[in-house]
Symmetry: C2
Amino acid sequence: MKLYDLELSGNCYKVRLFLNLLQQPFEKVTVNVLKGEHKSPEYLSINPKGQIPTLADGECIISDSQAILVYLAEKFEAESWYPKDAQTRAEIQFWLSTAANEAGRGPADARLVKLFGAGLDYNQARQKTDALLNLLEQHLQGHDWLVGDAITIADIAVFPYVGLAGDAEISLEPYPAVRAWLNRITTQPNFIGMPGLHPAEQTV
Amino acid sequence: MKLYDLELSGNCYKVRLFLNLLQQPFEKVTVNVLKGEHKSPEYLSINPKGQIPTLADGECIISDSQAILVYLAEKFEAESWYPKDAQTRAEIQFWLSTAANEAGRGPADARLVKLFGAGLDYNQARQKTDALLNLLEQHLQGHDWLVGDAITIADIAVFPYVGLAGDAEISLEPYPAVRAWLNRITTQPNFIGMPGLHPAEQTV
């Protein structure tokens, strides 16, 4: 498997992390976003949105980081990460949608402004981040994990840009349940980090 | 099954449409959004984002329209709508993410501005709509459906706000493959419409 990747992308990290948690080997191909390689005709032919990451598994090409998590969980029959019953699947989809929408337009956009000078509305991204963090805090006050009693791809999908909130100059101090959840993730066997990720009280 | 619903919501329509296509009976409970009922403590207890729709199937409560599509496809073992192999699941997830992100921040937000006077950035929503329509047009020039050779929940997830583009004062004239796809959807057995939906050349 080949991952079209960028070290500083939270969405690429999401996939690198899950591949490591599953202990599956892969080859990294760096896409030089600063040079515009993600908008080149070659890259657009495998990722029509011109986004990173893309996973190429032989002839099977998957883009969208949530879709790649689904692909890997299904391919490797990682059932604990993606249980098959209807209610659990739907609850996981709720958080995959949240990762694609609120986490993207909230903390990921806020980080793009602060870390890369992107011309996006920081205040709007900040408001969406606050709403997301409040939603997570409320949920995690009563649960260890986003869905069910164990870590799933829902946690992996939402975790990166929350863990990278510091890059976006957003403090997690008011969110103790979120910080405890980050700590549960970062202490998983085979966890890997990325630049800018500062787990609350990382013990590994 | 009980659907917390609003007639003019494209996301609620998405679920009503899929329930009709599956020929499953359900009870509608109107959530009076103009009166703020979606932000009431009672409603927030079943939908923590304060959004519509929500599906209540006995004790099982699902929010997020994409998550409800997944739930219904799994519950009713509607395998043609949501095939089980890893690649197809991932390709469907690509479009579920697109429905949650680009369709929401593009044509759905543009429609909120034009139809309900929402204080959102119309030009930004318009740009995101153009990008989505170009992505769809490019894909549908070579395919009848978003994933594989038959209609799936990917089509149902993305279709409503594209079909409602007229409400957002966005013309589909430059997108013939998108219009042909809308027509394929609106001529499905047991298709139902909603106010504002103007299929290109509806024949039913």
